[in-house]
């Protein structure tokens, strides 16, 4: 190799290095909207009040243009005999459990997306379609979705569902906290219809105060625990209950945000592209040295 090509080598390496670092500035900012507003909204679910009428299931389908059927049909309590999960046909479902403390009434638990404060789906989504909005809702842009289902693998509450039976345009679906309704000042459909006020809509800060207050005033009625206050860094939806939450099949989760470790690793490997560019330079150096050594060997010969 001639002296000229060695110079070329270094020049090209430098140009490429500069090119990659150039990209880094824009990449560092790339990411979905993820705001944690002081007065983000939430819902407090008081499972001791819920009667399992499932009106919320109907209202939710109605608000999201899913086949809802007649409201009267939801009086049938047979469905409560088996446990259900939100899916693409119902974004929220109510499950029934045996009575809790100091009561002989069954415990009914509404299930839907928890709208995490540090959502795993927002962090995971390959195209950044998910976002945490000012009002607390975790929503997503369907037009961006590629259907990779990483949000489903990431979600600690196993919430997002996917239309596996559709060949074209299958959708990821989950509760969107009635983003379109609340934008117009309306209540979320489920909160609006609930006949017994088991669901309270308000700022998350207020809801925690209300929950604490209820537990304090009725220690016989409630377990002293607010689910969602600290789970995976806190969620917009909060639950209080007369039963331990493990018995209501809530997953046992720590208080650390779900995307924490993964994002730390990710940003460590790519901190302003320094590690990859350094590696590139290092390998370039090794390549140059080993090439040169070979040349010298041959010259000696």
């Amino acid at each position: 190799m001639s002296g000229k090509s060695r110079r070329d080598f270094l020049k090209t390496t430098a140009v490429i290095g500069a090119g990659i670092t150039g990209i880094s500035t824009s990449t560092a900012k790339a990411g979905p909207k993820n705001v944690l507003s002081e007065d983000r909204m939430g819902v407090l679910v008081d499972t001791t009040v819920c009667v399992g009428c499932r009106n919320c299931e109907w209202a939710c389908k109605d608000a999201h243009e899913l086949p809802a059927g007649k409201l009267e049909d939801y009086e049938n309590r047979e469905v409560l005999k088996s446990k259900r999960r939100p899916d693409t046909t119902a974004l929220t479902v109510v499950n029934e459990y045996s009575p809790g403390k100091n009561s002989n009434l069954p415990v009914d638990v509404k299930v839907q997306c928890m709208h995490c404060d540090h959502p795993a789906c927002v962090s995971a989504c390959i195209v950044g379609a998910f976002s945490k909005q000012e009002n607390g809702s975790v929503i997503w842009d369907t037009d961006m979705c590629i259907g990779c289902r990483y949000c489903m693998a990431a979600c600690p509450f196993q919430v997002p569902a996917f239309e596996y039976d559709k060949a074209l345009n299958p959708l990821i679906m989950k509760c969107d906290f009635c983003f379109e309704r609340t934008k117009e000042g309306k209540l979320p459909a489920c909160v609006n219809i609930c006949p017994v006020e088991a669901l309270t809509y308000g700022t998350r800060t207020d809801l925690i105060k209300i929950a604490r207050d209820r537990i304090k005033r009725n220690p016989d009625r409630y377990e002293d625990y607010i689910l969602g206050e600290n789970e995976v860094g806190g969620t917009s939806w909060l639950y209080i209950s007369s039963k331990k939450f493990e018995e209501l099949e809530f997953p046992k989760l720590g208080t650390k945000p779900a995307p924490g470790v993964s994002e730390t690793i990710q940003h460590g490997i790519f901190s302003y592209f320094v590690p990859p560019v350094s590696l590139y330079a290092l390998l370039g150096g090794i390549m140059w040295i080993s090439k040169r050594r070979k040349e010298l060997d041959e010259e000696v010969k």
Partner: protein, 414 residues
């Protein structure tokens, strides 16, 4: 300029044999189920559901596919970056495996994502927080780099031999000229792509490990660890050479060539330390997180973890330390095969076995359709490999080192 004492040639051998016809049938069976997936949706062909969003296709076609194609970057690092020319003979076959492997990884992703027609979205819509975004972008760029790295083999095949049919024959000269210009340009800039290929590989091999970290407690503690990216990188580096040995021995048997034992033995002697480093981190992690308690239970997870570690790492590690193994083609084949099996199982374990969703009503096992598609892809890969080595100068014939050849030489030019 340095010299290589190798002479890669297109192997003269007939394409169809009974084994090849068997592969064609397996490939067609896979394609039939693949059509089912595109006409009736993912649910019609797979056992995936809202509890288990990822299955065999992500675990094997994508994760294991990327790992087993690691031979491409490890041999490039050895042969080109460190300039160890004694390994020149295996660089091209490894490059071909990587190129085909990554092509099928990309196809695997294309098949698995629900909205395949938006596969280009990550190019425009970025999420720097997402490990999957990192993997996706890196794989796309690396695939391009692999094709560029393969181009010299293409130009070498056709320079001075362009023979277009019919009226196109008047373009023979310009086409030849184009190839020569391309070849000249490539030989000057190839090092850029070679280094880029190694960097991109270390990045996405490790990020593939980061993928499941976000699943947190949904993943069995035997596998869930914050050092997953490191373990993925180390295992990918460790499986690179065994995969090259594995396929080189299969290819020489199938094409009736003498196995290149002088290169393969030397390559094999480097595997034990690489496996050792991986094993040390794996065991160390197990003791630091005290997850060995789960091995006392007898269930699918503990059995598969033990099999993965014992047959995939410990036994081949011991084998590669033995001179007898390094000198014997069958034993070398078994040892290399065990490492390949171990990494394959590790990726399946990480993405399928370890995944335990909180509201699972059953467990996941791939459907016949899913298995057909995966096996069909592997068959297609082997068929494509065979076609290319029979038509392009990829494999170097031992003992036929006639012309000493310059790296990225310009044949007939100058």
């Amino acid at each position: 300029m340095s010299h290589e004492s190798i002479n890669p040639v297109a192997i003269k051998h007939k394409y169809f044999t009974p084994g090849v016809i068997g592969l064609v049938i397996i490939a067609i069976n896979g394609l039939v189920f693949l059509m089912g997936r595109f006409f009736f949706g993912i649910g019609a062909v797979t056992n995936l559901n809202n509890q288990y969003p990822w299955g065999l296709w992500i675990g094997v076609d994508v994760a294991a596919g990327v790992a087993l194609a690691a031979g491409g970057f490890t041999t490039a690092a050895l042969g080109h970056v460190m300039h160890r020319e004694e390994y020149a003979a295996i660089v091209r076959p490894a490059l071909l495996t990587a190129m085909l492997g990554y092509t099928f990884v990309a196809t695997g992703v294309f098949v698995d994502i629900g909205r395949w027609y938006f596969i280009w979205h990550p190019l425009l819509m970025w999420n720097g927080n997402s490990a999957l975004f990192e993997v996706g972008i890196c794989v796309m760029i690396y695939l391009t780099v692999l094709y560029i790295e393969f181009l010299p083999i293409f130009t070498e095949r056709f320079i001075g031999r362009v023979n277009l049919p019919g009226f196109l024959s008047k373009f023979n000269k310009p086409a030849d000229k184009l190839l020569r210009v391309l070849d000249k340009g490539l030989s000057k800039t190839m090092f850029v792509f070679i280094i880029a290929g190694v960097v991109l590989s270390t990045l996405h091999q490790s990020s593939l490990g980061t993928l499941m970290v976000i699943a947190g407690p949904k993943m069995h503690p035997l596998w869930q660890t914050p050092i997953l990216p490191l373990l993925f990188l180390l295992s990918a580096v460790a499986v690179g050479f065994p995969m090259v040995i594995f396929e080189s021995l299969i290819a020489s048997r199938s094409l009736k060539l003498k196995p290149e034992m002088h290169v393969l033995s030397k390559l094999g002697s480097m595997i034990a330390p690489l496996l050792g480093i991986y094993l040390a981190f794996k065991i160390g992690d197990m003791f630091i997180r005290e997850t060995f308690v789960y091995l006392a239970e007898f269930n699918t997870a503990s059995v598969l973890f033990t099999v993965e570690l014992l047959f995939g790492v410990v036994i081949p590690l011991r084998m590669f330390l033995s001179h007898k193994v390094l000198k014997s083609p069958p034993l070398l084949f078994i040892a290399a095969g065990l490492v390949v099996f171990g990494v394959l199982l590790n990726r399946i374990n990480n993405f399928v076995t370890a995944y335990t969703p909180p509201y699972a009503t059953g467990s996941y096992f791939p459907s016949f359709g899913e298995i057909s598609v995966t096996v069909g892809f592997v068959a297609m890969l082997v068929l494509a490999y065979r076609f290319i080595v029979l038509n392009f100068p990829v494999i170097s014939l031992p003992g036929k080192q006639t012309a000493a050849q310059t790296k990225y030489t310009i044949k007939g030019g100058k």
